[in-house]
Symmetry: C2
Subunit: 313 residues, 2 copies
């Protein structure tokens, strides 16, 4: 049996870490030799979660080879969001809740996707289908992932399946009031003052190829939009420098107030007019667009941009 690494996307968030740990455990019960790893250090929100449930952060890796050439992906499928040597690896399993894009294999594989708010929700279903008991601390991690991805069930990505999974996981994890816990957890991830501009634009950033353009989209969670606006010049300079260095045509940062569920979008690079058209809205003179009610990059940002940049399906 070949050892397989199990990991989420680059710049791991709580779901990427929780889903990797949960799938690695589940597949171990099926006889696979698995290890959950991470494509980067955990963020402050995830560190809060790991500390709370007494779980160690997964080992950080950049390459799978020479250690192994078989891997399982969670919470992503697009190659540019994955491990550096993904093109040389055999992907045997994917569990994901995103669009499918640029993901090609030479062989049949296990692929499990559903349009739920959180990848850990799908894995919760899989435990149930396979009759595997969820260990208490893994239930705590998956519960936290659902809270994180759905902003306490307030994101439009939230489904009834996420709601049910969150209830069930909170019970197994022995968390009496998941709302109180969730607000504590979300706040732990929003300390803007403690981060450099570079850290802010990096920490939750993902790359997309949309209509032939290299698009980078970051999301910053805050409890007060003013925290970011006060540092706008500094943040935009960091975005431009990074866009030049990494060849991004367009760099967008979605700043989301996790308490009010409103966002602002900061945009540098081109085509800005296409972004404006995608949201039926305008950037102001500081390159900031108001997006009231927008909290989901996946459901409310990537689809209209995709539609505007590469109108196909």
């Amino acid at each position: 049996m070949t050892k397989e690494l199990v990991f989420g996307h680059q710049n791991p968030d709580t779901d990427a870490i929780a889903a990797a740990i949960a799938l690695a455990y589940l597949e171990k019960q099926d006889g696979y030799e698995t290890e959950a790893v991470a494509l980067g250090p955990v963020n402050p929100e995830t560190q809060f979660v790991l500390d709370y449930f007494g779980v160690q952060a997964p080992r950080v890796v950049n390459h799978a080879q020479p250690e192994t050439d078989q891997v399982m992906l969670v919470d992503h499928n697009e190659p540019q969001q994955s491990i550096a040597d993904i093109a040389e690896l055999k992907v045997t399993h994917v569990v994901d809740h995103h669009r499918i894009s640029g993901f090609n294999t030479a062989q049949p594989l296990y692929y499990r996707a559903a349009p739920y708010g959180c990848c850990s929700t799908i894995i919760t279903q899989m435990y149930s289908e396979e009759g595997v008991t969820i260990p208490k601390e893994i239930a705590g991690l998956m519960m936290s992932a659902i809270i994180s991805d759905t902003l306490l069930l307030k994101s439009p990505t939230t489904t009834d399946v996420d709601r049910d999974a969150l209830q069930a996981l909170a019970e197994i994890a022995d968390v009496d009031n998941y709302e109180d816990y969730g607000i504590q957890m979300l706040k732990a991830g929003t300390n803007v003052a403690a981060k450099s501009a570079q850290e802010l634009i990096d920490s939750d950033a993902k790359s997309f190829v949309l209509g032939g353009k290299n698009v980078r989209i970051d999301q910053i969670n805050v409890v007060d939009l003013a925290d970011v606006n006060a540092r706008l010049t500094e943040i935009k300079t960091a975005m431009k420098t990074e866009a030049d260095a990494e060849n991004y045509d367009l760099f967008l940062v979605l700043v989301t107030n996790v308490l009010t569920s409103n966002s602002e979008l900061i945009g540098v690079g081109e085509p800005q007019d296409v972004v404006a058209a995608a949201f039926g809205n305008q950037f102001d003179e500081n390159d900031v667009m108001q997006l009231p009610g927008v909290v989901s990059r996946k459901k409310q940002v990537v689809p209209p941009l995709t539609e505007q940049l590469q109108p196909t399906k």
Copy 2:
């Protein structure tokens, strides 16, 4: 609720038809408004199955629009094997047991794949997970699909999950001896004499893009390889004409003896030397290569060709 069409690949085989009917029924229980359709007329094997279990052949369609713009795919995902207007449609569900290639979406969706011998095996699992009783005639169709795709469990694509599903389905379908039934069914699909050369090279053909080449691969099931060899000149002429007309760089026809599990490969177009290298074998002066023990296009033909034509992962 938008009506959704559910269909398998072009040149439908028994699994493409059975899986479409079975998934359409299952999703109806979940509240979707579905209709199973087919991207072409059923083949003689499938007609035998439909007659045996008293099911009507699905309506044949070429386009989903203007009837609907939402569809569910079974037994395929590659766009060139799908409905003509696939690029304009929203795919909400996929259930498949093939490699993933060229399949991209703008939105998250339900995707369920497993490396089993038959797509209907996955759908059998889904019925069980969702606690839905399989109607007798649908069990008969799915049982037949497993027999067809695995050549009575003899193909190397066969897994224990296929074996278990076949047993369970035969019981529900009230078929006492599925081996006897299976041989009858496979023979019904192998009447080479009744078909024109054009029909022979078309009936189970699929298109692939491999290393930038347009590759067409057909499979003909026979009970005696001599039936095809006697008509080799006629068949090769039809292959060349079709390759010219449709811009195929390479046209391969895998002729499989369903009783002995051996095949011959007929090849026209280029690069023939790459095909030879892929199988570590040679075409003879009649462009025929012996492939003893090869019965699976998916597991024994496409992967070595992919590896040879576009060595990546």
